[in-house]
Symmetry: C2
Subunit: 365 residues, 2 copies
Amino acid sequence: MRIAGVIERYRAFMPVQDNTRVISLNEGSTPLIQAYKLSAAIHPKLEIWLKYEGLNPTGSFKDRGMTMAITKAVEDGFKVVMCASTGNTSASAAAYAARAGIKCAVLIPEGKIALGKLSQAMVHGAKVIQIKGNFDEALTLVRQICSKYPICLVNSINPFRIEGQKSGAFEIVDAFDGVAPDFQAMPVGNAGNITAYWKGYKEYKAAGKAANLPRMLGFQAAGSAPIVLGHPVAEPMTYATAIRIGNPASWKTAEEARDESNGVIGMVTDHQIKEAYKLLARTEGVFVEPASAASVAGIIKLSQNGFFDNVEPLYGEMIRLVCILTGHGLKDPDSAIAAAEQPATLEPNEEAILEVLGMLEPAFA
Amino acid sequence: MRIAGVIERYRAFMPVQDNTRVISLNEGSTPLIQAYKLSAAIHPKLEIWLKYEGLNPTGSFKDRGMTMAITKAVEDGFKVVMCASTGNTSASAAAYAARAGIKCAVLIPEGKIALGKLSQAMVHGAKVIQIKGNFDEALTLVRQICSKYPICLVNSINPFRIEGQKSGAFEIVDAFDGVAPDFQAMPVGNAGNITAYWKGYKEYKAAGKAANLPRMLGFQAAGSAPIVLGHPVAEPMTYATAIRIGNPASWKTAEEARDESNGVIGMVTDHQIKEAYKLLARTEGVFVEPASAASVAGIIKLSQNGFFDNVEPLYGEMIRLVCILTGHGLKDPDSAIAAAEQPATLEPNEEAILEVLGMLEPAFA
């Protein structure tokens, strides 16, 4: 049997009709990887799993919501979709619009975006328009245009995005045969994803498909932590660009997820994010974009503060925790190069190479 | 139930013991996407499916073989693996070595490699060594060193790579409930992958898990087509760098796959590859690295030459064909930017934007 996309697999939970034409790239079904070494390094009672959302078709979790948003846009007769975006949203919108055979327009603030980050929107044939203005102006324009013209807005204010994204929670519960983990940790930027996961867990429990609910742990970057600080941040700053958001669209529902689940929304520094980013790549072999590492950085911080010491696991001996890794590291190769040791340059000579490898004594020679 | 990696899922077909410690990043289980528009555009009798191998953990099909190679390296007691590589192999080797907790060394020819392409090997903590010499010298050194020292060679001459890679064939047959497609199309560079798929199909049929075998279609780039030309190419040239190989390691077994399956190994020009690359991204929403598009380019060429006109499908009305798309487009963002329309720059003004979108007449206004 072929593995289908998230709408087909969770059709009863999705706002579609029997005859809805589903626009899908077989998103979802992403790996859930047990992180043995990371768990041991962080806390003796933690059993950490990594939900590797970077293996969605366009390299980020956005595809789960975009399949739903584009499916509804097509059902509602739209021939054009539009978003203001600088990265993952535009890549996903452009790919699904191409798949559907409709147009996609992406508005970006001029000069603020590396051309490489737009390679996906461009290759999928989206109309990419640079606006002489900032991101807020671009988003305002998109909202104005979509309110007047037959163009479907697919930024995160589109409610169908959340409906698709909640499928991540279903997959996690299914992977553990009907049991939600004790904790779920994730980065928080615009806060749509934590909203979606919490909605998914609650719906699955109400349907009798999940025995329990997890406690939700969300992490913002310290320079961009409006929910933690309790007020919008006018000029959000962080190296983790995907969560550099000063006034999250889903602020209120993120707080609900935190409070209803007895969870935490905390913050981590850029230094902590970078260290977690390297740790994931070097100890588990999992390459993420910087924002994704905020979840691991946050767990490390909580653990160091004794947060997990007195937690009683729901089942068994270990505290089960799933980290959502939202995007693939290939989205941002420059960060990888900056974080790594630079290549050595050597003569083509065995001994020189072995010396660099610290292997001058041949054990089997 | 959690989706496991390829060794666990196809354990009976893999060279492992009951107690083998499996090193996995939950590779495989990649999407098989039906390409409705591409099929209609290429031939009225073709039903084309895309096996999107770019959604393996490190973004290419190499992970299927590397899980097996690193698992065996660890089982055999190696603490270091090594390869000469410029791209996908080094990324995969570095990630799986990190996962295993062993060292990885990558030898590259100095100055021939864009630093971006090595971001994966670097971030996973591989020792990247630039050699003052060309690629052949690097590979020769790797072979010499691995023959004398306790270092496991994980270039494609490592026989376990093929064993893991054959799992792609199993997944395709499983997706179609025990039936292999009429045809499978794929790019051919070093020819290990066509060798692996054919081995997989034959083993699955022998085990009673596949009702039939496909005809194998392989495509080389015209400037790098030793198998088609019948002799090595001293200075292979093609824009599709992942298949720029003048003297394939698995030449003979690729010819066997072609001949035993009544297949074809043909060649396509760089122009044809680029056109197929754009077609995939713009009509199906699937972003691949350039080499992956050689399979689609090859099918288009065969179809134009009447190849499919008199083919009788094994089952039903349509000729079922699976294209292997070997790597993700994010591996090579520069090719995407070069292939696309550049962004327009506009004042933040509704009318200017709508004019560019060709929508000055508001249908719903």
